[in-house]
């Protein structure tokens, strides 16, 4: 019972708490075939965190966000945002959302677009007038504020979409592929905006297939494939290899030294002054370091071995698909 209580208390403290969420779509003639878009997804996102949701196309990332925003109804499971059940009107006043491939009325200017969607958000005209100008400046569209958005490029529309999502000063921001079509400079600007939001205590839920981008700004990530969560954690946690280390030496080790180290390792690779080791047990690391010191080698650094998020992601997906 206390365990259950603790679990629910944790869910309540989380800004976004997703519990056993599943979604299946019926399709085909007479809706005979069933597509499982999400399977028993449970994720929590804390306040002030940038949370990255990663996955290949069709993994269910967008479906998950749409469920949280009540655009799609879940088949089973629950979720809360800011302690309230997802989908409540009150919650939608406190969140911002940038959908993937969003389409704004093309006959409006950038400024008018923000005014319109701000009004739908329930914001006053007086407040919106200054807020829209401020946000257009933040996303770099100040000079385009009076131009009809049908003349905007994809990248400009993404910037406008971000401004729209920020209109109500949201406590939680859901972004679905926010840098899609944005040039490298624009991407950096968007990343900086997101970092600024994190500093201000806002929570960002980021959907992206751009791994390097997510790796750079996310505090934690979840990897989704075929509707299932394969891994959740900090980038450091999920990219660290268990019992694998890189040791940088001051001088190149001799062959006998390498043989001694090799006897204690599952695998050993050498690259001039760097040894890459996979061990059987953590204690073996101390034994190896002692050998190196006894042999008069200078040790410059010992680091747990990490792979890039991209490598980890690809390996994880491949392993799941071809076990």
């Amino acid at each position: 019972m206390p365990i259950l209580f603790g679990y629910f208390a944790h869910l309540q403290m989380s800004t976004v708490a997703i519990s056993h969420l599943s979604k299946s779509f019926s399709s085909g003639l007479f809706r005979k075939s069933n597509i499982q878009a999400l399977s028993d997804v449970s994720i929590t996102v804390s306040k002030g965190e940038i949370f990255g949701l990663l996955g290949p196309n069709g993994a269910g990332k967008t479906t998950l966000v749409k469920i949280l925003l009540s655009v799609v109804h879940p088949t089973s499971g629950t979720a809360t945002i800011l302690g309230q059940p997802m989908g409540s009107t009150g919650i939608r006043e406190r969140i911002g959302y940038l959908p993937e491939n969003h389409r704004y009325p093309s006959f409006l200017t950038a400024h008018q677009t923000l005014l319109h969607f701000g009004r739908l958000q329930g914001l006053s005209k007086h407040f919106l007038s200054s807020k829209a100008s401020e946000l257009l400046r933040v996303v770099g569209l100040e000079e385009w504020s009076r131009v009809k958005i049908k003349k905007f490029s994809k990248g400009m529309l993404q910037r406008l979409g971000l401004a729209q999502a920020l209109l109500n000063d949201p406590e939680v921001l859901f972004l679905d592929e926010p840098t899609d079509g944005v040039d490298p400079v624009g991407r950096k600007e968007i990343r900086d905006i997101l970092k600024g939001l994190r500093s201000a205590g806002k929570t960002v839920f980021l959907n992206s297939h751009l791994l390097s981008e997510v790796e750079e700004i996310s505090d934690r990530v979840a990897i989704l494939n075929k509707g299932e969560v394969l891994s959740v954690g900090t980038i450091r946690d999920i990219t660290s290899h268990a019992l694998e280390y890189e040791i940088r030496l001051g001088i190149a080790p001799s062959e006998p030294v390498l043989q001694k180290i090799g006897a204690l390792s599952r695998s050993l690779e050498t690259n001039q002054l760097t040894l890459t080791l996979a061990l059987h047990a953590k204690e073996d690391l101390n034994k190896i370091l002692q050998i190196l010191l006894q042999e008069g080698m200078s040790i410059e650094s010992v680091m747990p071995r990490k792979s890039r998020l991209e490598d980890f992601f690809i390996n994880l997906i491949r392993t799941r698909e071809n076990p």
Partner: protein
């Protein structure tokens, strides 16, 4: 306030799509036509209306009001045309809201799905309503200035025409949320118009197809479950003037205003809007 904002944007969208603007121009041309064509004069206590110099008096009728006659004819023709052309201009407004990339934006705002759908529908009807009112006031003013008769009931009938369009639009709203297709919504609305007219005279036409009590009750149910567009237009026209087009004496012509078609149509349109809302609520986007 949020729903009003969406309704206003819908009106704006309808205008900027060009079709409403075209109707506005056509409306102005018709107003100008009547301004140039109609003139009235009093001769020995009797009002005489002329169009392009020709006196307008239906043969065999005495004591009829030519302004009422003209306005009634104009109202009936214009309102029937506006119903059809209005649907053509506004049927795309709900499907465009349901397009991928747009619907997510609207559904993520703190507005219920019912508010969204109704605001969009009322916005569409508002656009058409503004056109109807502008046209009606224009015609009313032309006749008032030219003949000295300010026929207030013509304006009242025009307001009723907006209500009729709102009822008619319920068919589009339901079709649009189900099919998400502009073309299909227009098609169904036009088929409904034909079907609705046939249902009006079902006793003399559809009943004879199959002499079966169940079939007859089924047709009756359909009649009561759907808005009665042509019947309402006839009743609204009665507000403008008596029906004397068949050259019967004015005293014999139907002139009473029957509220029942409006009550039944309001109820059936509410049902169609409710069905559209329920369907909209259940959908994933």
């Amino acid at each position: 306030m949020k729903a009003l904002s969406l309704s206003l944007l819908t009106i704006r969208e309808a205008i900027l799509k060009g079709t409403l603007l075209f109707y506005f121009i056509v409306g102005n041309l018709i107003i100008l036509f009547f301004a140039a064509a109609v003139s009235g004069s009093m001769e020995s206590g009797t009002l005489t209306i002329t169009m392009f110099g020709s006196q307008l008096t239906p043969r065999g009728l005495e004591g009829f009001n030519p302004v009422e006659f003209l306005l009634r004819q104009l109202f009936q023709s214009a309102s029937s045309a506006i119903m059809l052309f209005g649907i053509f201009a506004t049927a795309g407004l709900i499907p465009s809201m349901l397009e991928k990339g747009t619907v997510e934006l609207y559904l993520s705002k703190p507005l219920s799905r019912s508010s969204l759908l109704l605001a969009r529908s009322f916005g569409a009807c508002g656009g058409i309503g503004a056109n109807i009112l502008y046209f009606a006031v224009g015609i009313w003013a032309v006749f008032g200035i030219k003949t000295g008769i300010w026929h207030g009931n013509f304006l009242l009938a025009s307001v009723v025409a907006i209500f009729i369009f709102l009822c008619y639009y319920s068919v589009v709203a339901l079709t649009a949320v189900i099919t998400r297709s502009t073309a299909f919504s227009i098609m169904i609305a036009f088929v409904f118009t034909l079907f609705s007219s046939a249902l009006e005279v079902r006793q003399t036409t559809l009943y004879v197809w199959w002499e079966n009590a169940f079939f007859h009750r089924f047709l009756d149910s359909l009649y009561y479950a759907t808005p009665r567009i042509s019947r309402m237009i006839d009743q609204a026209a009665n507000l403008v003037g008596k029906d004397i087009t068949t050259r019967v004496l004015a005293e014999q012509a139907s002139a009473g205003f029957d509220i029942l078609p409006f009550v039944y149509s309001f109820l059936s349109a509410s049902l169609l809007y409710a069905l559209a809302i329920v369907y909209f609520f259940r959908q994933d986007y």
